[in-house]
Symmetry: C2
Subunit: 390 residues, 2 copies
């Protein structure tokens, strides 16, 4: 079993009303006097959240600059603009108000603002991130888990590269998680976000290393939570219990808890990053389409026992089923969840993606080598899986 | 649903060899230059751990004083002696090497050393703990979870009081968890420790507040882990996987993760604290004897659904069973685990405790009022449960 170091530095305020009554300004003041407020396309203005937070800051005498218009699949251009603003305005702390894209962008800004060269040097890994401004988040979407994790995924639209930057200095210092802020999330975004949460757990769960089995049981608990509550949130968008469970599950799916010393074996994420880099689709949707096909592709006699556990412990399938039969049914149950219960499109064709770029995407997904995953995936494997998704 | 603030400040080094190769001195140096080394009855000398750690500190030029002889159910006298030493030697950081008793004692020392009055003022809650020296732990027993929690339980042998002090300043800064250090733990201590872990989860799980159901699923995962791996550790004391699972489950059972905003409803712990205060028995053993009797006492039509979940999701019982039938069987399965699989004594009588002090203990357990638990417990309730344990 591999050893590991565990540290979970984010302070989380969880629950309804954590924004209005809340020590947002107090927490900001602990970290500095000048804030960069980062947000997306204006939904926080419609919902009134922008007004609430800026009023709180003004009342507390906190100065702030603003960067708005951060896109889903956040772009290098936003990072560069934010970093320039931070330098110009002597910003001390970056406040992200939004979903994973806004938070990812804020993290990259926090790092790029402390670096003299080009932001892409850091994001692409050419240069090492040494330091970053502290990041505080107010979350409006349960999905990426960026509110407690060390990761920022940024898209370079020129080179069609979508790259994940991982560094412990990027972990948010404080995150505010108020489930009521997700009531207004659309059905589609709720469904995509839930597929993303499920995928974060699956990427760690499907691992040939079975060490520290406790974590498998904990992962199953997270997946059961998503499978139960995502359809409820779709049905009734203001169901507090459903939104709260999804929100907290999203954070724990990727905040480091479930990792232990398990070697990370991510498969669907690298394949999906090419999809959203080339076609700018919702990340969770790409994962939903890929996941069952990837499962079918990697299922064999050696991997079946893990699928059996998944089926029995997450979907409550009959434990007396033969292992391979249970494994196959677990994939059907996954499809049923993603496509029937969440109502997401089942194929790339349905969302207007054809075979044109698949070969190039497959090459890029594995960096012309092999993704060292649950089942190692080379270019031909990935191309086959993409084609199965058409 | 209640809101809550989540923060988990302990840095954990987990895995084999974390002690020998380890940055114990590096981490200590971050916190100060003078250490108080706290340990128990000398088992760490027999095992060679004392020699390893003191050598590492000497090589790193770290000065240290020592407090040894901390008892199971650690006593006020040890806390006072440690606090005096800290003041006299200008100690900066307290290093606990041992199980929960040693760590609990170190935490109380850390607080008492920063207070001018009597240590018992702080422990009894007469005075508020404002600050404490940083605590670092090297854990040798999977049980209390003190290595990541905010609690210190201290016994006043004069007044026969056993009191829990809770304060966020007591949470250890760094903890070293090497499962191989628990290979030498006796069968009895392994069994008692496992009963303690299970009880920590049960105390939160049996709650009429069903909010944030995700946490119930996570608790079930922790309990399944204990139920599976404790018997393996008893059978094969040097089974790394079993010891690692028990060790990490012990930490997560009480480090705050499973709480969310659930109102704490502890029942068996307050009853047990009187048992070990009066008779100095192993805490986990007291919990094991009490738990199934408490379950029988509180089971009725309204509480049965929670027992049903417990039986189905932890022991894998048939979900088609009638709720009350499943509830009763879940208690039988708990007994089977504690007494048949762990081999712990089943009654107070077997360990030489008779009815003499039960009435006084029952009074003290509820402070002559009511324990506001899953089922509120007054003196007569507690006395009945104690008698059921004879």
């Amino acid at each position: 079993m591999n050893s590991f170091v565990f540290q979970m530095p984010t302070k989380v305020y969880f629950g309804e009303g954590q924004i209005t009554h809340l020590p947002v300004p107090d927490e900001l003041k602990q970290l500095g006097t000048k804030v960069l407020l980062v947000y997306g396309g204006g939904s926080i203005k419609k919902s009134g959240l922008y007004q609430k937070i800026t009023t709180l800051m003004e009342q507390a005498g906190i100065e702030f600059a603003e960067l708005s218009g951060v896109d889903p699949n956040p772009r290098l251009a936003s990072v560069e603009a934010g970093a320039t603003l931070c330098k110009k305005e002597n910003v001390d702390v970056v406040l992200a108000v939004g979903g994973g894209s806004v938070i990812d962008c804020a993290k990259a800004i926090a790092a790029a603002s402390q670096y003299d060269g080009k932001a892409w040097d850091l994001i692409s890994g050419k240069e090492q991130v040494i330091k970053a401004l502290p990041v505080v988040t107010v979350l409006t979407l349960a999905a990426t888990g960026s509110e407690m994790d060390n990761c920022s995924v940024i898209t370079n639209t020129e080179t069609k590269e979508k790259v994940g930057l991982l560094n412990s200095v990027l972990v948010p210092k404080v995150s505010f998680l108020d489930p009521t802020l997700t009531y207004s999330v659309s059905k589609f975004q709720t469904a995509s976000g839930s597929a993303d949460i499920l995928s974060h757990v699956l990427e760690v769960y499907f691992n040939m290393n079975r060490d520290l089995e406790m974590l498998d049981r904990e992962m199953e608990g997270l997946m059961k939570t998503v499978v139960k509550f995502a359809p409820i949130a779709l049905e009734k968008p203001d169901d507090y219990e459903a939104r709260a469970n999804l929100m907290w599950a999203a954070s724990w799916a990727i905040n480091g808890f479930i990792n232990g010393g398990k070697v990370q074996m991510w498969s669907c994420h690298p394949m999906e990053h090419e999809l959203s880099a080339f076609y700018d689709i919702a990340h969770g949707l790409g994962l939903a389409i890929l996941t069952p096909r990837w499962m079918e592709y990697v299922l064999d006699e050696t991997t079946a026992p893990k699928f059996y556990d998944y089926g029995v412990n997450v979907f409550g399938m009959d434990p007396t089923l033969p292992v391979m039969e249970a494994a196959k049914q677990s994939i059907e149950r996954t499809e049923e969840f993603l496509f029937d219960k969440l109502g997401l499109p089942r194929t790339l064709t349905e969302i207007g993606i054809d075979g044109t770029n698949l070969e190039r995407m497959a090459e890029k997904a594995c960096g012309n080598g092999v993704i060292p995953a649950f089942r190692p995936l080379g270019k031909e494997d990935i191309l086959t899986i993409y084609k199965m998704c058409l």
